[in-house]
Symmetry: C2
Subunit: 219 residues, 2 copies
């Protein structure tokens, strides 16, 4: 018997809590740099793939941010995938502006010069992607930058085939933030601590074999 009203089957949640559905997610640390400002790091989850060949990432940057001022001076950025050890960076770089604090210095983040962008990579990240902006557009109070991938790096032995090695790449799989049960001001961050034992392999042969012949032959 099929439900006719979604609330017969689901709990209704707020528009804001809809963000919880697509977790775990690896949130990016976005590095930017210009001669006038020096380098800066911002926590950013408003980015996605947007172009395959060449591979591109689209990054949304609010006009209120220091990152916007920097990227308008030098249209390049680095997307860094944080390791679990970088959870302090993820926390701080989402709350404090680079106008008020040199976050890289305060956090003691080690950097390595980019090869094809004048933006540093984060040495403790699981990986870094050098991007150069090839196009952008504005909508409301954000600019959406399309960045071509110039170079990409992963921690040594961090890829196993085409996938992150859960042995060697300790990526920070963010689950969300919430207030603890104890009555404090602490807003806890939560993440999924993953190891090789969590990896499941799924062949998917059967669903492909189930297809009608005329559909299957086009695959």
């Amino acid at each position: 018997m099929t439900a006719t009203d979604p609330t017969d089957h689901f709990d209704e949640i707020s528009q804001f809590d809809s963000k919880s559905l697509f977790k775990p997610k690896v949130v990016s640390l976005v590095v930017t740099n210009s001669p006038e400002t020096g380098p800066n790091v911002m926590t950013a989850s408003w980015w996605m793939l947007a172009g395959y060949d060449p591979l591109r990432y689209q990054l949304a940057v609010s006009h209120k941010t220091h990152t916007y001022d920097i990227i308008e001076r030098n249209p390049e950025f680095v997307l860094a995938a944080p390791s679990t050890d970088m959870i302090d960076a993820l926390t701080l770089c989402g709350q404090v502006s680079g106008r008020d604090l040199d976050k890289i210095d305060h956090l003691g983040l080690e950097t390595i010069p980019g090869q094809d962008v004048d933006v540093p990579l984060l040495a403790d990240a699981v990986g870094n992607i050098e991007c150069s902006v090839m196009e952008s557009f504005e909508f409301e109070n954000c600019t959406y930058y399309f960045g071509n991938v110039e170079n990409a790096y992963v921690t040594k032995d961090g890829l196993d085939g085409r996938m992150l090695s859960l042995d060697d790449a300790d990526v920070l799989a963010y689950m969300g933030s919430d207030w603890g049960e104890d009555d404090t001001d602490t807003k806890y961050r939560y993440y999924a601590d993953l190891g090789p034992e969590n990896l499941e392999r799924y062949p998917g042969d059967e669903v492909i074999e189930s297809l009608p012949d005329d559909v299957a032959e086009d695959l």
Copy 2:
């Protein structure tokens, strides 16, 4: 001692393999519907948050897809977060066009009518988000749709506070696809099988307390 060349410290990877860095990720099943075509489901990872109040999702849709034809007729969509049981849907809906196969029927997916959009929800998903397109723009061969959240739902008891309950919401945390070691044509899909034992809580108090007073008082 700091590396001066990224390859002293990292393995260089291809632009395509850069996608591996930001995993695990919950890939969306995008549902669309129009009177002329009926409902359709497409696997889509090119989407992100893009607007906070009202909360919006931006979705990129290639002009080659059936989803594009449908959404141009009826500018609404549902973002569904698949459960682990829906891995066949994730596989098939990323490979076969709705022009060639009624994927909902073939997969036996149960649907529930949306409340504020004329697009069905997927009953077996961990959650569904009803979106109505408020703006769009074209770039190269894609249209980028900004969808306002009309309603959002999670599986019963699926949220624990503001986070997915890893007890009650068995979300499909996609790790990527790769060929197996055995010499077959099978392209395996991999996912992280998560349970409550994987959840780590991090207070982050210390890094906030480490801030200079004038920075801390603005938080």
